[in-house]
Assembly symmetry: C2
Homo-oligomer: 152 residues x 2
């Protein structure tokens, strides 16, 4: 019995995203890339991941079009991993994980890093799904309309 369903024909966008980036290392690599990290050795020091695991995840992210490999910006022989436009659009995913963690996974008064708006230096406000008219959309206000059977 297979442990995983094949996801390539999953009609659920959440499942497809999770299949690509829903693992600890991929999510933390993407986080570090948003912080400007570009080199294998820097990712390794930041994450403490085994080299083979890190290489595998970086390759998978490049294959998925989330990161692109390019020559080093300083003219050295290094290769650098940079977010593609598609990778940059993962920003809301990383921000959502951050904001939930800030709210629920720190003791009162415990210090944590903060995402700030560069122009103002102020913390980025909590992000939330909104309706077309701008009203806050809570989970109970929304529902998933499934693809009908046979149209996969």
């Amino acid at each position: 019995m297979p442990l995983r369903k094949p996801l390539s024909d999953e009609p659920c966008p959440v499942a497809r995203s999770v299949d690509l980036i829903g693992d600890r290392w991929s999510l933390l690599i993407v986080r570090d890339a948003f912080d400007g990290m570009r080199r294998f050795g820097d990712f390794q020091r930041s994450l403490g991941a085994a080299k083979n695991i890190l290489a595998d995840r970086l390759r998978k992210l490049v294959d998925a079009g989330i990161l692109a490999l390019q020559d080093a910006s300083d003219g050295t022989a290094y290769q650098e991993y940079v977010l593609t436009p598609q990778g940059e659009r993962l920003f809301p995913v990383v921000v959502a994980l951050r904001q939930w963690g800030e709210r629920h996974l720190f003791a009162p008064g415990e210090r944590h890093s903060v995402l700030v708006d560069k122009r103002t230096g102020k913390a980025v406000p909590a992000m939330s799904p909104k309706a077309k008219d701008g009203a806050l959309l809570r989970p109970a206000d929304a529902e998933v309309r499934k693809v009908s059977q046979g149209t996969r």
Copy 2:
């Protein structure tokens, strides 16, 4: 050499969130819970996860205060897993994963499930981090202010 740093004293909220829910099964369980799923057998059928893995992840989500166990709503002997208020606040995480997947992981014209506003029946608009003044905040507009050394 340990493969993982201990995360309990990580000052990065993304890392703490990823440590709790940054795996395939946990994210898909949370997705299904938002769709109203409550019972072990239903999660198992939906996810195709091995029983021991599913039981482990559900226990971890209960221990983390994301799901709560309660008696079945229909008076039967079943136990049900329901999102706590803290779990409900993962809505932006699931919506962000969905919206990225919708945009990047489907071929043009390929059908996928859609998150709709119940009041209007319309698709929920793309969610994005915003500045305090409501302006769209792109990754380059924000930066992480780290906790200074020694203040962990």
